[in-house]
Every structure is written in structure tokens, then in C-alpha cells.
């Protein structure tokens, strides 16, 4: 009998091509997602070495980071040019490289186009028990399906393109268990913010997290993708939720998902991946669902988390002197004074989107709050950016676009948008944004931008009140 293994160990073992004496393994990669920012130098490397892509069939390319979210097609159906010369050049490089190396490419105006981490699961390209990589740290997202998915640098992108493998050392394992019932108005985003607040931005470094407990068992796949997406903000390169009937129901019938006999074989194998009773994790962290409130960040690290009912902390309240110094710098950058109630902080920008929170359930949650209300007068821009063209269509079929537009939001084309300031969507210097994205780093949403990470419903609540707001005060209350 083999020793009990965790979900992570089972996926790892199933992908070992070769094991070296020092423990380093050559790991086979089942799925490789490619976007325009981290791939041009990799393709150039292949070209200059005269190398080919080993498995173009396991590779999928889609542009997302640089694309403006304004209309892409003119009145007579022609593609509109991209004003930023460098962005246009980077997008053109992918459009040229993908077919040149035989890689499937979803172009900027295809209905399937979207953020790589929304497209992969939506197309059924991302599957449980697979190894998935992409030159983007939020590849951890796909772990919500029970895949071992992680971000890689461009040299590794080139390595995977050329060999369909990576040389890796096994990670340590961390179980993050959340049991109990989530309170009213508490979303998957709040759960992951609470987790990062607890373990810290470096707490997961060297680990792969497995999310366990009743909260994740009862969570939708989209919610699991949100949680797993932000594993990297807690330092963990990957996060995992064991695949179950919820996962299989989500995947069945998706364009690239297995069919017929292959589907049945796949489900049988996926079921066998759950962590065995008695398997040990290197570290265990537990949270009680009842302790998690709608949450948000106050500083410039994703670990800077408080409940919406809380106040801006005093830097001196941290035990670690380097954290005190970091907190002082953060508050100075954020323009916040210790003791300020989070709910008294006015915002000027709202961003609902990103690979963390741009799926249909996210848009529904935001629309529920926005319905019948209007964006406050102090809000300068309020963007709703669906994660893919298919999410956009679905939302329009449900009338969500009308709700947002009538409430004064802008309804945009899919892409990474205001998450990272690589395209025209930016937060102006010195202004504040309630954002459903994943990083509140200095300058992340534009030079001088001030980010508060929140859930979609909390972002919509901030939009209609003009300040950071406890969404529970609006939910259930009539508009």
C-alpha cells in the first residue's frame, strides 16, 4: 500500500518525467497559456536557436493585458487601430508568433477573447489534475478546478514551448481550512483577503496551498477560481481546490473539455485525486467562516487587510519594526491617517473586473447592488469590464449591462483593464480606487494610484455611495 498523499502530491507524481538524485524533477506540462506581454522574448529565443514548439496542441494564445477596453471594431466592421505604439507592437508580435509556431490563437475581436485566466476554464482548456502554466503569476487561478497551475517567467515560457516540461523542485504543502457558514454579504474575495491577512504576503512562499473545509466544498467553481487566483498574493505559487461534482458540472460540455468515453475516464481519474485520509501537510492554517467579514485593504501590500467595519491601523500596532516602517510608508502613499474609519474614506474610481473578479457571478453580485441605484457624484470613472467576450454576452443576455449603464457605470470590452496600468485604463495619480483586482502595490493601477482591494459587491457599494461602504448596509435594503 502506498503512503497517503495530498492532492498536490498526486498531481505532481503523475507528471514526473524524470527524477534527479537531488530531488529536482522534470515535470510534464499539460496546458500552456500564452499572452502578449511575457511571450515575445521567448518566441525570439526559439527563433534565434532554431527551435520549434514541441506541443502546439497543448498551447493556447490570447491577447489581454494591452488591449484597450473601448470598442475594437468600427461601424463598418473594420478593426480599430491601437493608439499606443508599443502596445500595438506587442499585440502584433503575438498575432504573428502564434500562427508562425502553429499555436491556436484567439484574436482580439473573437467572441471567446478574454483574460487568459477567464478563457482557460471557460473553454474547458484548463482541467482538473493537469499541470497548467502561463507567463503570469495569477495562473494560480486555475487551481480552483483542481489543477496544479502556476505562473512562470519568460525563460520558463521558452523552456515549456521548446520541451513541454519544466525543471522543478517539489513545493511544501499548506492546508488552509475554512469551516462553517459564511455570513450575509461575505464573498469568496473576502475569504481570500482574510486568508492573506492571516498568513501574510510571504506566508505561502515555498508552499502550494490546498483550500479545504466546508466553505470551499459549498463554493461555486467561479468562487474557487477567485480564491485560488490570489494564492500568489499570499506568496504561494499555486493553490488548489479538490475537484468534485461541482467542478465536473462546471466543465461538462465546455468546448475543449473531454467528451464521451474520455469524459467518463477523466472524471473517474479526477475523483481519485482528492487528498487521502491521513495524508500530512507541512503546515495547516485554519479560519472560522463566521469570523470573516466583508474585507478590504488599507495599504500597499495585499496582506494589509481589515474588515470594512474596521479602521486604518496605527503603524506602531505592528510588532515587527520593518512592518511598522512599511506601514508608515504605505499610509503616506495612500494618504490615510491611523484611526480613520474605512467607511469614511471617499473614492473617485471604481474597477469591477480582472482575472480575480470578472466572471458572470461577479457581475451578478455587483449588479444586485447597482440595480436601481446610481453612481455617486464624486466618482470620476466606474468601469465594469467582463473577463471575456462570452461573459459579456451572458451578462447582456441577463440584462446586467442595462443595470450597470443605467446606474452610470461604463460597460467595456474584455481585458485586463485597470488592474495593471498597461492599457489606457488607469487610476490617476493621487486618486483612490475601490477595485476588484488582486494587487494594491504602489503604482499598480497607474503612477500614484491608491488601490483598495474589494469584492465586486463592495465595489458596487462604493460606487453608489462614493466611499468605501459595508455592502451589508445596502443588500436587503431597498434601493
Amino acid at each position: 500500500m502506498t503512503a497517503p498523499r495530498t492532492l498536490y502530491e498526486k498531481i505532481w507524481d503523475a507528471h514526473v518525467v524524470e527524477r534527479r538524485d537531488d530531488g529536482t524533477c522534470l515535470i510534464f506540462i499539460d496546458r500552456h497559456l500564452v499572452h502578449e506581454v511575457t511571450s515575445p522574448q521567448a518566441f525570439e529565443g526559439l527563433r534565434s536557436a532554431g527551435r520549434k514548439v514541441r506541443r502546439p496542441d497543448l498551447t493556447l494564445a490570447v491577447p489581454d493585458h494591452n488591449l484597450p477596453t473601448t470598442p475594437r471594431v468600427g461601424a463598418d466592421g473594420e478593426r480599430l487601430p491601437i493608439a499606443d505604439v508599443e502596445s500595438a507592437q506587442q499585440l502584433a508580435a503575438l498575432e504573428k508568433n502564434a500562427p508562425a509556431f502553429g499555436i491556436r490563437y484567439i484574436d482580439a475581436i473573437a467572441p471567446e477573447q478574454g483574460i487568459v485566466h477567464v478563457v482557460g476554464p471557460e473553454q474547458g482548456f484548463s482541467l482538473p489534475g493537469t499541470t497548467i502554466v502561463c507567463g503570469d503569476s495569477h495562473t494560480s487561478c486555475h487551481g480552483g478546478l483542481g489543477a496544479l497551475a502556476f505562473g512562470i517567467g519568460t525563460s520558463e515560457v521558452e523552456h515549456v514551448l521548446a520541451t513541454q516540461t519544466l525543471l522543478l523542485k517539489p513545493s511544501k504543502t499548506m492546508e488552509v481550512r475554512v469551516d462553517g457558514k459564511l455570513g450575509f454579504g461575505v464573498s469568496p474575495k473576502d475569504v481570500v483577503l482574510a486568508i492573506i491577512g492571516k498568513i501574510g504576503a510571504a506566508g505561502g512562499t515555498g508552499y502550494v496551498i490546498e483550500y479545504t473545509g466546508s466553505v470551499f466544498r459549498e463554493m461555486s467553481v467561479e468562487g474557487r477560481l477567485t480564491v485560488s487566483n490570489m494564492s500568489i498574493e499570499g506568496g504561494a505559487r499555486a493553490g488548489l481546490v479538490a475537484p468534485d461534482d461541482t467542478t465536473f458540472a462546471y466543465l461538462k460540455g465546455r468546448p475543449m473539455a473531454p467528451t464521451g468515453e474520455n469524459w467518463d475516464k477523466a472524471v473517474a481519474w479526477w475523483r481519485s485525486l482528492a487528498t487521502d485520509p491521513g495524508a500530512r501537510y507541512d503546515k495547516v492554517v485554519t479560519l472560522d467562516a463566521a469570523d470573516i467579514a466583508p474585507s478590504l485593504t488599507w495599504g500597499t501590500s495585499p496582506e494589509d487587510v481589515v474588515p470594512i467595519t474596521g479602521v486604518v491601523p496605527d503603524p506602531m500596532s505592528f510588532a515587527d519594526p520593518s512592518k511598522q516602517e512599511a506601514a508608515r510608508k504605505s499610509l503616506d502613499y495612500m494618504g490615510l491617517a491611523p484611526g480613520t474609519r474605512m467607511q469614511d474614506v471617499a473614492v473617485e474610481n471604481i474597477f469591477i473586473g480582472s482575472c480575480t473578479n470578472s466572471r458572470i457571478e461577479d457581475l451578478r453580485a455587483a449588479a444586485e447592488v447597482a440595480k436601481g441605484r446610481h453612481v455617486a457624484s464624486n466618482i470620476r470613472q466606474a468601469l465594469v469590464v467582463p473577463g471575456s467576450g462570452l461573459v459579456k454576452r451572458q451578462a447582456e443576455a441577463e440584462g446586467l449591462d442595462r443595470i450597470f449603464i443605467e446606474a452610470g457605470f461604463q460597460w467595456r470590452e474584455p481585458g485586463c483593464s485597470m488592474c495593471l496600468a498597461m492599457n489606457p485604463d488607469k487610476v490617476p495619480a493621487g486618486e483612490r480606487c475601490a477595485s476588484t483586482s488582486n494587487r494594491n502595490f504602489v503604482g499598480r493601477q497607474g503612477p500614484g494610484s491608491r488601490t483598495h482591494l474589494v469584492s465586486p459587491a463592495m465595489a458596487a457599494a462604493a460606487a453608489v455611495t462614493g466611499r468605501l461602504t459595508d455592502v451589508r448596509d445596502l443588500l436587503g435594503a431597498s434601493a
Partner: protein, 194 residues
């Protein structure tokens, strides 16, 4: 890649923790399609601060950065490693690094040295006025004051760094093993063919 055995010289005594990849190289520099020239955008937000270490002539051209916990957290952008390389940095010393960043640094011939906070604090003090030396052969960081800190480094990475090995070339030489794995999986997990 250039073989590397020692890194010797002045060190930027940065000291901060959670130096993220948006700080190392902001997103607006990521639109390049080459690896070169990113040094000009490195640490842009820190360099906007008066008296910052990167614009202090005492450290001009320093090949080492000394930082706090969780250096390189955030994005997978290898541009962070390219930017450091372009500004002449060959090693970073910190109590911890993000996993993705340390991999990217290694692949660009930049040594990431993990030392305990006390050792980092001592090196920060020394580096204000004196050079330090990192030696991969002996896995030590030394100062002109007889400080000697030993660090752990993955033997494979150390070997690649010291011999300037091309990892893709090494893996391509394992083609038969990869092909055998592919054949086996085509039978065991037929749904993976796409």
C-alpha cells in the same frame, strides 16, 4: 549565459521588505519585445524619493542589492530580472524571495542569496561604506571585517550558475524520456490530447 563564481563590490543597502515586481519595474515598461534596456525603468518609484540609495553616487554601479523579506513578490514578469541585470546587478541578498522571482533571477545569471534577518541587518550596516563579497564556490558572504555568512543554494542552480549552462539545451537532451512519457500518457489519460 556567463559563468559566475563570485560577486564582489558595493551593495545598495535597500533594506525594505515586500519589494514587489511593480516597484522593481513598473508595468508601463513591460511593452518591450526585447530583453535589453530595462535598467532605466528599474525602481522608478523609489528613485522618485529624495536621497534614495539608487541615485546615491556612493553606490553607483553596485552589483549587489540587500533587501528585506519577500523580495520580488508579485508578478511573474521576468522583466524584473532583466531590469536588475541591465542596471548591473548580479546578486540580491534578502531573508526571503518570491519563488517566481528567484527562478527568473537564476535564469538570468543573478544570484539570490537567502540569509537570516540578523545577517542581513549586519550586511546593511557594513554596505553603507564598504564592499562585500559573495562566493558561490564556498557559499559564503564575507565583509572586510571578517564577517562570514554561509548560505544554502540549490546544487543544480549553483552548478548552472557556475558553469553558465543553458537549461533548455540540457532538457532537450532528455528528448527520449519526454517522448516516452508522452506515449505512456496518451494511453493512461487520453483526454489530455487536445
Amino acid at each position: 549565459m556567463e559563468p559566475i563564481t563570485t560577486v564582489e563590490g558595493r551593495a545598495f543597502p535597500l533594506g525594505r521588505k515586500n519589494v514587489d515586481t511593480d516597484v522593481i519595474i513598473p508595468a508601463h515598461y513591460l511593452k518591450t519585445i526585447t530583453r535589453a534596456g530595462l535598467g532605466k525603468g528599474a525602481f522608478e518609484t523609489i528613485r522618485a524619493e529624495p536621497g534614495n540609495v539608487f541615485d546615491d553616487p556612493a553606490y553607483a554601479g553596485a552589483p549587489i542589492i540587500i533587501a528585506g523579506d519577500n523580495f520580488g513578490c508579485g508578478s511573474s514578469r521576468e522583466h524584473a530580472a532583466w531590469a536588475l541585470g541591465d542596471m548591473g546587478v548580479k546578486a540580491v541578498i534578502a531573508p526571503s524571495f518570491s519563488d517566481i522571482f528567484s527562478g527568473n533571477a537564476f535564469k538570468n545569471g543573478i544570484v539570490t542569496v537567502v540569509l537570516p534577518q540578523e545577517a542581513v541587518d549586519r550586511l546593511l550596516a557594513v554596505a553603507k561604506d564598504h564592499p562585500i563579497t559573495i562566493d558561490l564556490e564556498s557559499r559564503t558572504v564575507t565583509t572586510p571585517f571578517q564577517d562570514r555568512f554561509t548560505f544554502e543554494i540549490d546544487p543544480f542552480r549553483r552548478d548552472c550558475l557556475m558553469n553558465g549552462l543553458d537549461e533548455i539545451g540540457l532538457t532537450l537532451a532528455r528528448d527520449a524520456a519526454i517522448a516516452a512519457y508522452e506515449t505512456k500518457i496518451a494511453v493512461e489519460r487520453p483526454w489530455l490530447a487536445n
